[in-house]
């Protein structure tokens, strides 16, 4: 859906933080913030919920653990018991290293996969850069443009007061 947005570019992190806090206090809708590095304190300022990715890690890790134990138990106990030095077939202690490795492997790969999926990052994706200098040294706040003229003026004034180097209007598929 095409939506009208306000793009405010900042040179200083603290100006941007101030702008985001003010904008949210005045109930403007902050669509996103773009920055060359993760800004600490911005999650709270933007009101972003904590990601649920750690649960993905937990579930994937447990799956890896179960897979490893099943694989080793099935092959070494059920399918083809091999007598190695008279040790019991189900030598659980000897199965621990591989169980640990597969837990880590499953958990790590799935977490990264889930992250890329959730953040919609994939090779060949068309890049949407509201300001070409975001990946260099510029911090950008994108607000959804308020529908009435008065709040629009107020939003622009607020962003400028906070120290925005420029405030422009634009359109984007949000």
């Amino acid at each position: 859906m095409r939506a009208k947005i306000l793009v405010a570019s900042f040179a200083q992190v603290e100006d941007l933080l101030r702008a985001v806090r003010k904008a949210r206090r005045e109930l403007f809708r902050v669509y996103d913030v773009f920055a060359p590095f993760p800004i600490h304190g911005l999650d709270e300022a933007m009101g972003i919920r904590r990601t649920r990715l750690p649960y993905v890690t937990l579930i994937a890790g447990l799956t890896g653990l179960a897979t490893a134990l099943t694989l080793q138990f099935y092959t070494n106990v059920l399918d083809w018991p091999l007598n190695v030095g008279g040790k019991p077939d189900n030598s659980l202690l000897a199965f621990i290293p591989i169980s640990f490795e597969l837990t880590v492997l499953f958990a790590g790969l799935t977490t990264v996969g889930a992250f890329l999926l959730r953040a919609r990052l994939y090779p060949g994706k068309a890049v949407w850069l509201v300001n070409p200098a975001i990946t260099d040294d510029t911090f950008v706040v994108v607000l959804r443009k308020p529908s009435d003229d008065e709040s629009h003026q107020r939003a622009v004034a607020l962003l400028k007061e906070s120290g925005a180097a420029s405030v422009t209007e634009s359109e984007a598929n949000l």
């Binding site: 806090r21 590095f37 600490h40 911005l42 790590g108 790969l109 992250f115 850069l129 260099d136």
Partner: protein, 469 residues
């Protein structure tokens, strides 16, 4: 900053106060300009080493591993020594990128990227040796459990540490690669937006996965980095522990020791930091990155070398003590032979390089002298190579009955493949510092902003933490 007492300031990890634009430009400079003469000289030598590896490995595979100096007494020698050596090198990269991240050590930011790259290249070199040692590398897939197979329902033996190794090292390689690439994405996006050439833009565009610096993505990204660090930390400890079990679960004097896992892990970190130090001193001098890889970084790494070197020395002493105190005659003979036998030179070289040389790092003057640091960092690697040689060859060559004793003499192919593995490693590393952002620009920028006093934590800002929900 946060919890420091009055009057104590955080150390500065970037010299001067470069602007963010300056940081981008500095870090992109080696990729955009032509590298200096020194880079080309190094590259020619590395590429020759790689050629040597290709030739030697081809000859080895064609003739069989009899062209190595192995025999009935000494069935593992240079091959496994090199394998353990390279795997150990890799550990410092993960330590810097994962463990120091969990401990919130800011000094990792300038060096983590290249240290992780070093890990990946070192693990590649390490993987080469078991592969070549198989003699029939085309059958290498036998080491994985697969089905259906041609041996009927016969599976790999999951009780064997060598099979644990397969899982440990392939997991380690995969997770390190993913962690490294994840860290690269924002910087690849920076390069995509900077580069002018069509091919460069296309390549960086594909690799950066459409990254646009959205904070909603950054928020998740940071959590994912922490999770991966949390996974990689026990992983890296497990890898060298499992490598040490290849030896420790045997009954051979000199191998059959319970202290092996922590001893090997400490040794791995020690040798890895030696290699990081070598590489970083070379890169900061050839690529003009002294501003980001400061003397303070080198100083910190020297301290890590001092600590891990001391742990390793303590392990050496413990081994001798246990051999004497344990009263096992084979064990006792092994350690007498280690210090007085035909391979005693290897033992003394290892003691000199690993136990004595790092003790010089107690002195600040030495930690702040690049030339001495460089020399000692190379000594560390020589010492750690000989440590593995001593553990492997000396244990094998005179075990139990004298009728089974023998000597190992390396052949030209042994040396050729060892040198060749360095060729592979340095070729990859030199290409990396030439074509990829070798310093994590986005992390350095965050540290630079914090260092400049623009601490952005809520509660200290102008708004006093009164942000509306």
């Amino acid at each position: 900053m946060d919890n420091l007492p009055e009057g104590v300031t955080e150390p500065r990890w970037i010299a001067g106060s470069p602007t963010l634009k300056q940081i981008t430009a500095d870090i992109a400079a080696p990729m955009e300009g032509r590298p200096g003469k020194l880079w080309y000289v190094c590259f020619v030598f590395a590429a020759l080493g790689l050629l040597d590896l290709l030739g030697m490995a081809t000859y080895l595979i064609a003739k069989g591993i009899g062209v190595w100096g192995l025999n009935n007494s000494v069935g593992w020698a240079f091959d496994i020594t090199n394998f353990v050596f390279w795997i150990g090198i890799g550990h410092a990269g993960t330590l810097i990128s994962a463990i120091l991240l969990l401990f919130r050590q800011k000094w990792r930011t300038s060096i983590n990227r290249s240290a992780e790259a070093m890990t990946i290249f070192a693990v590649m070199c390490a993987g080469l040796f078991p592969l070549l040692h198989m003699g029939r590398p085309w059958d290498a897939f036998f080491i994985f459990p697969y089905f259906p197979n041609q041996h009927g329902p016969l599976w790999v033996n999951f009780r064997s540490p060598l099979v644990w190794d397969v899982f440990a090292i392939s997991t380690y390689f995969t997770i390190s690669l993913v962690f490294w690439f994840l860290g690269l994405i924002p910087d690849l996006a920076t390069m995509r937006d900077r580069s002018i050439g069509k091919i460069k833009k296309l390549v960086f565009g594909v690799l950066s996965l459409g990254w646009n610096g959205s904070h909603r993505t950054w928020a998740r990204y940071e959590v994912v980095s922490l999770i991966l660090a949390g996974l990689a930390t026990p992983l890296v400890l497990s890898v060298h522990s499992i490598v040490s079990m290849d030896f420790a679960t045997s009954l051979l004097p000199g191998w059959h020791t319970t202290i092996f896992p922590p001893y090997f892990v400490a040794g791995a970190i020690y040798s890895g930091f030696g290699m990081v130090l070598t590489l970083l001193i070379l890169t900061r001098q050839t690529m003009n990155l002294q501003r980001y890889i400061t003397m303070r970084h080198l100083d910190s790494m020297a301290k890590v070398l001092l600590l891990t070197g001391s742990i390793v020395s303590f392990a050496y002493a413990t081994e001798f003590f246990a051999a004497w105190y344990g009263g096992n005659i084979y064990e006792r003979y092994h350690f007498i032979n280690r210090a007085t036998g035909p391979y005693a030179f290897g033992f003394y070289l290892m003691v000199l390089c690993n136990a004595i040389a790092p003790q010089l790092f107690w002195f600040k003057k030495i930690r702040n002298n690049v030339a001495i640091l460089f020399v000692i960092s190379i000594l560390v690697n020589i010492g750690m190579w000989f440590e593995r040689f001593v553990i492997i060859v000396v244990s094998l060559h005179r075990a139990f009955l004298p009728s089974g004793w023998g000597m190992f003499y390396p052949t030209l192919i042994d040396f050729g493949i060892l040198v060749g593995s360095f060729g592979l490693f340095f070729t990859l590393f030199l290409l990396f510092i030439r074509f990829m952002p070798m310093i994590a620009a986005w992390e350095v920028k965050a540290v630079a902003v914090e260092q400049a006093g623009h601490g952005a934590d809520p509660g200290h800002g102008a708004e006093g933490g009164s942000h509306a929900g």
